[in-house]
Symmetry: C2
Subunit: 453 residues, 2 copies
């Protein structure tokens, strides 16, 4: 009998299991694949390793354009893959060690609910476990529209991209969201010709339209073949190549096609219905305490709130606080920041202009272009903007696009959380020179009322 069983060892499940064990709960963690989940193994971390390993290419390109530097950089993609595997395996190993030290029982296999309070783990050695409380943190997986399913030959998903043995000469990227954008940049840096296709008429449609505009103009400058506002009929492998057919009848051919049109919750095969859990399209339905059923919580991607690792970790911390009697309050998330890495980077936290206006509040924005920022100038990457979104005289949100703007994320998160008024920007001393000063500048810039975004 375990006090707590956690299903899924991604960021949410791991944090829940570790914090519960630290709090003295007898805890088991069930994982059907690898410790670390999508984030560590097929998502955020491998992508960042590939972006990091190729960042010198983009830095050099900027200085070359300014005629300050010249040279060439060759990335050995097979070696990069090995290094990625090594780093990820190292983190998995450290995680396993930490779980062991904490006394968490880690069981590999697929969890299957047999009755409330009871699960069976199918796998090499089937095990039956009993729990007092259950946390479902089973995550998400890529989803596809009909006709866009990868065949894992020339048509691949994000997992397939991260497992490539060599970079293709040309790549169709279906989906101009953050996954498509980050992966396309990796391929672009390694010399791949990019064709980017999306049904929406702008890239990064979850971001501020001004951010999309800056990104879009950069992608064009990089000579990406941008096909926005088009509908895809099919993507298939034909003679070993990826062939994308648009509704218009146009076809695009490339060595590979990456389909990155979204991710959906993993809820199948666990017999969650036996617990009386409601599963909606976006994920497991939860109440204000993140409960999916009596004694059962759902956290992370699977509950459909937001698909971000740090949100899952925050939810995990809440659930353990609740289970260990430290809080009885409903779950309240602070502002959840979001980053697209690469060159440029994108960040946002808090409300968008659209959300403030939708909520019926007057909305003001103050912006600063990066052009005059000395750090952006130093890195020959001055295109970009920082935008502060104000509601009721307080900072409601911040978004930015440009060189290294991910570094504005944590201060912006704190500023949104604290709801800074305009004068607060004068109280904190920002370092000079720094890109951070662009955030300070945007906070101090003239606020203009906007009525639509």
């Amino acid at each position: 009998m375990h006090d707590l069983i956690v299903i899924g060892a991604g960021p949410g499940g791991l944090d829940a299991a570790m914090e519960a064990a630290e709090a003295g709960l007898k805890t088991a963690l069930v994982e059907k694949a690898d410790l670390g989940g999508t984030c560590l193994n097929w998502g955020c971390i491998p992508t960042k390793i590939m972006l990091g390993a190729t960042s010198a290419i983009e830095e050099l390109a900027g200085q070359t354009k300014m005629k300050v530097a010249s040279g060439s950089i060759d990335v050995d993609f097979a070696a990069l893959q090995r290094r990625k595997e090594k780093l990820v395996a190292g983190t998995r190993k450290a995680t396993a060690l930490r779980l062991k030290t904490l006394g968490v029982d880690v069981i590999y296999g697929t969890a299957h609910v047999t009755a409330p309070g009871k699960i069976e783990v199918t796998g090499d050695t089937p095990t039956t476990l009993e729990y007092d409380k259950l946390v479902i943190a089973s995550g998400s997986r890529p989803t596809f529209f009909p006709g866009l399913e990868p065949d894992n030959d020339a048509v691949i998903d994000s997992n397939g991209f991260l497992a490539l043995e060599s970079m293709p000469e040309s790549l169709i990227v279906v989906g101009a969201g953050f996954i498509g954008i980050e992966m396309a940049q990796i391929a672009h840096r390694l010399g791949t010709k990019i064709h980017m296709v999306d049904a929406l008429d702008r890239v990064a449609a979850a971001e501020d339209p001004e951010v999309s505009k800056v990104l879009g103009s950069m992608f064009k400058r990089w000579k990406w073949n941008m096909r926005l506002g088009v509908r895809v009929q099919s993507v298939t492998t034909r003679n070993g190549k990826a062939c994308l057919r648009l509704d218009s009848g146009d076809e695009i051919e490339a060595d590979k096609a990456l389909v990155a049109v979204g991710r959906g919750p993993v809820t199948d095969g666990m017999n969650l219905e036996a617990l009386g859990i409601t599963i909606e399209r976006s994920g497991i339905k939860i109440n204000e305490y993140l409960e999916a059923a009596p004694n059962v919580y759902a956290i992370g991607d699977v509950n459909g709130i937001i698909q971000l690792a740090h949100a899952a970790s925050h939810q995990a911390h809440y659930v353990v606080s609740r289970l260990s009697g430290k809080t009885e309050a409903a779950y309240v998330s602070g502002p959840v920041p979001s980053i697209i890495y690469g060159s440029p980077e994108v960040m946002h936290v808090g409300k968008s202009v659209h959300e403030v206006i939708q909520s019926g509040q007057p909305c003001e924005v103050s912006t600063l272009q990066l052009a005059a920022n000395p750090m952006a100038q130093a890195h020959a990457a001055t295109q970009g903007v920082v935008k502060v979104i104000w509601s009721d005289g307080k900072v409601a949100g911040v978004t930015a696009v440009g060189h290294d703007v991910s570094r504005l994320t944590t201060p912006s998160t704190m500023i949104v959380q604290e709801g800074w008024a305009p004068e607060d920007a004068y109280e904190t001393i920002f370092p000079h020179p720094s890109l951070d000063e662009a955030l300070m500048g945007a906070l101090k810039a003239e606020r203009k009322t906007v009525s639509a975004d």
Copy 2:
């Protein structure tokens, strides 16, 4: 008659003049050299432009060491100098335009007090000006110990370094403080052999000893000839080369020697004595309102509080708030952050371990090594540490060394300013993956009492 005359157009003086003009004061700004002062023209900004332009070299070196990448980067130093001049000139021009728009009278020349309320500006067209209030923001200049004065032949100061027409093959750097360290890194990246000499037994002696240790080990790995804890007798040009003689009699020869042993206030030639101002070795003596004499303020490097541009700007904002009747309170500075840029970077803000212990308070520290951080791993730069200094259960200071740690500066400044308690680290959602998580990890790490640093 001007409401306000500002002497010195560095960051403090510029901000004072601009904010005063915005507040409706008739303002004049006197500058003997270039708008932007040391920071823009011979300090922070040119250094960052050179570090930025060469950053790909260090990024590539990291990946090359991991056998992931290979290649070569050539920086055209003359082109970099031209670009630096162009960027700096552009900022000067934008600054001049902004001053003009605001109606600030800019007068080039050396200010000389003739009587309280009256100054003469000597220069191409001598001018006499009258003021109601005076702000002295005349900044600092390099200072030297006897025997270390640059001859501007083979022995140069930081101004001389930034004006070099080509990088020497070898460079002696006298002074392992932040100026010496940043400039030595620029030269190192461009292939220069570095000899670093300091009387103290560790580099970056203003930083935490653990930070010095990490920096020192990197410099050794880069094969810098480190001569610490030695006394320099002289540095002279001999047969066109720089020759440094130690007290021990040892000699070091190199193509150039950069002497960066400190900066001191610029107070001469202005006849400040006529105002009853007291000038100490560290700078102009001021009271709690930053007043040096009735109706006379001193801000920035010249008052000796701290030699940092952003501190000067903060003081400028206070003085203008006071002059325009917005505050009558004494000057209170929030925590002033400090950064050494390069690879690695160094940051600190708030109190050091030493300062907490000196104040008689119990001191705790919590630390996190960067080794497991995915962003540090991605950039093949995992050596480094984040250290949080606690006093009385609150965060009193933060320091860090390692890849990209400058991005921890602004959040750390806010955290120190707010005096976070341990539980506060769970309230704010840090983005994943990010280097910022190393700060979160250090905040959440076990706190250990330290009795000496």
